[in-house]
């Protein structure tokens, strides 16, 4: 093995090596941009079905995995190069230090690292001569030791970098041996992170086109609305090496936890940290509100207690030990009410994923536990009819649902579509993120109840990866024909129970009654004549009850079994007046 000497170290150009790190990062950015384009393309690839389409989907998945691997290995190489640049600089600094040490004694270090002493007086005071000789010996020793350390550092750097470069190129990399460097920030973050020369970060303004963080604007795809952001996020995550991912979760959980497009396991880990942080803040706020209790801060005390209750409800659900895997995909305590998304089952791997969207007066503290219990049961039923494929169910409380006391609040009233309009992109982005995080998209269903159906209706007007939708107890939709939604024939399902006054009258303020949408499939809530084993759902809040026909239909849609649904009877359809169940009252 050739050892590097001082001569070689003097030829080191660490700034140039650092520049190579930046160039490699730009190359990784190009791969990530290509990955992003493919992920986005794949998600809209519902335009074709059949055996050949399945083969194309497999090919998509295979290429995505390969590109992810290439991007990660470029990342490993980049990390090793940037680290090597710092270590090369350290070796050079040691040589300079030896030179300065020699200069202080009137000596010098030549190009090859030999210490050259000046001619010293050979006569005179013998004591002084002895002192001089001893000082020169110490000088030689120190210079030699320093230069040896420089050579050792240079050698180790060279060997390590060579090993990583070869391994990364041969797809046999072990990222664990590579020192972590600053990683590119996630797309559309408020600032982008640029590694300084010593690895410390500097915050820079966001460039005009920064969908892929610090990667070059030249490779940025078109500007993206928020529903497309998950594809950029998925590409960013796939381009990180394992250490960078772990670091992002540990140091920047807010980058990971709420970010659609990232795997559930990563989001869950980050959200646990964010949940703990929110719990601490909520606890402090409540203690403070109680300590300062006056007749005038009753509202603050109530809100502080509700915040604690919201977070406790999440903690309680996650603590359930019923053999079902749960993932916390969002905890957002920035608003008046906490937002949360909890998944039952493996959303990254299950063939079918159903996402429930709650409606009027839904809150985390009041409803999450109840929904979790209900959906654990419905998931089990869906798995039983889905055949070989697994099923996951998500409770999506990812928006602040309108509350009863807000009915006279202009922008928050359940009588207005504003809350739905403002949050529709969050639901569409969530669906896109689920697909983008996976190697192959899932069969996705939305179960949308009450005002949640208004929100889902708005989301259907956006680009999303949802395949089937079941709107139940919908007060009205912002479209009149299925063509406006981009759903395939048979994918838009509507359920309306007798005496559901919200579904009967909501269209007065929310648009077309869901049962009137051309192309929608109307599913039964009433037990068909002669059918045994089911009960009828009635009113606005009975659709999910165990054993009802509506529950059976929701399960069948989510399991991808349209052959099992029970359609509304012709008699019931023919008897549907525009005024629904309100007719006798008017």
């Amino acid at each position: 093995m050739t050892r590097l000497g001082v001569t070689d170290i003097r030829r080191f150009r660490p700034a140039g090596v650092s520049g190579i790190g930046h160039d490699l990062d730009a190359e990784r950015g190009r791969v990530v941009a290509a990955l992003e384009v493919l992920l986005r393309r794949r998600a809209v690839g519902v335009s074709w079905s059949g055996a050949a389409s399945a083969s194309a989907a497999d090919r998509y998945g295979w290429i995505v995995v390969r590109l992810q691997d290439v991007a990660a290995r470029i990342g490993v190489t980049t990390a090793a190069v940037v680290r090597a640049a710092a270590r090369m600089q350290a070796a050079l600094d040691l040589v300079r230090r030896a030179e300065r040490r020699a200069e202080r004694e009137g000596a010098w270090v030549d190009f090859d690292g030999r210490l050259v002493l000046p001619a010293r007086p050979t006569s005179g005071d013998t004591v002084l001569l002895a002192v001089r000789a001893r000082a020169d010996e110490l000088l030689a020793l120190e210079v030699r030791r320093t230069l040896l350390e420089a050579e050792r550092e240079a050698d180790a750097t060279d060997v390590e970098l060579a090993r990583v470069i070869v391994a990364a190129a041969r797809a046999a990399v072990d990222p664990g041996v590579v020192g972590l460097r600053a990683l590119p920030p996630p797309p559309a973050s408020p600032t982008w992170w640029s590694p300084g020369p010593t690895g410390s970060g500097t915050e820079l303004p966001v460039p005009a086109c920064s969908s892929s963080g610090s990667w070059p604007a030249a490779v940025c795809p078109d500007a993206q609305p928020s529903v497309d952001l998950p594809f950029a996020s998925a590409a960013w995550w796939r381009g990180l090496i394992a250490e960078e991912r772990a670091w992002a979760i540990r140091e920047h959980p807010q980058w990971v936890g709420p970010r659609d497009g990232l795997p559930a396991r990563a989001r869950h880990a980050a959200n646990l940290a964010l949940l703990a942080e929110a719990e601490r803040a909520a606890s402090v706020r409540l203690r403070q509100a109680i300590a300062e209790a006056t007749p005038w801060n009753a509202t603050e005390r109530t809100e502080a207690q509700e915040r604690v209750d919201d977070l406790r409800a999440i903690r309680d659900v996650l603590a359930r030990r019923d053999g079902v895997e749960r993932s916390l995909l969002l905890v957002d305590a920035r608003g008046r009410n906490v937002k949360a998304i909890v998944a039952l089952g493996d959303v990254d791997g299950a063939q079918h994923v159903a996402t429930f969207v709650g409606g009027l007066s839904t809150t985390v503290r009041g409803d999450l536990g109840r929904y979790d219990t209900t959906f654990a049961r419905m998931r089990k039923e869906a798995k039983a009819v889905a055949g070989a494929g697994d099923v996951a169910v998500v409770t999506w409380l990812g928006y602040e649902a309108p509350q009863m006391h807000e009915i006279v609040t202009a922008r928050r009233s359940v009588l207005s579509g504003e809350v739905a309009r403002d949050n529709a992109d969050e639901l569409a982005a969530f669906a896109n993120g689920l697909d983008a995080a996976r190697d192959r998209p899932a069969h996705q269903t939305w179960w949308a109840h009450s005002y949640g159906a208004v929100l889902a209706g708005r989301a259907l007007l956006l680009r999303s990866g949802v395949d089937d939708v079941a709107l139940f107890g919908s007060p009205g939709e912002p479209f009149a024909r299925i063509e406006e939604t981009g759903l395939k024939p048979g994918a838009l399902n509507v359920i309306r129970a007798p005496w559901d006054l919200v579904a009967s009258s909501g269209w007065l303020v929310h648009g077309t009654p869901a049962t009137w949408v051309t192309g929608a499939t109307w599913l039964a809530a009433t037990k068909p004549a002669g059918a045994n084993g089911w009960t009828s759902a009635s009113g606005h809040s009975d659709y999910l009850s165990a054993g009802t026909v509506s529950e059976h239909n929701l399960v069948a849609v989510a399991a991808g079994r349209p052959d099992l649904v029970v359609r509304v009877s012709h008699a019931e359809r023919a008897a549907d007046p525009r005024w629904g169940d309100l007719a006798p009252l008017l």
């Binding site: 493919l38 335009s47 060579a162």
Partner: protein, 96 residues
Amino acid sequence: MRRRVEPDAVADDAGGVERAGRLLAGVRVGAALGPLASFLPGGQVARCLAESRSEWDRQVASVAREVGALADGLTATAAGYTEVESVVARHLGGHG
């Protein structure tokens, strides 16, 4: 077997995949690594660099070819279905 095809949408997919292929065609990992030999001379890095660079070029080209093949496949799919549609329409009296 029941099939559902939207040839225009498949053609759009092909266009998107082609775009990804163009981005990959611009990836130059080997070239980016090239100057390492002169910035860190005399050691193992300098000796192994040529092999690593060519390995990177080979792999990137390989995955770019795969992407190109997918784009070609999608393009052929869209064209094939469109052709079948127009041939059948022509044979049955030009009502297509």
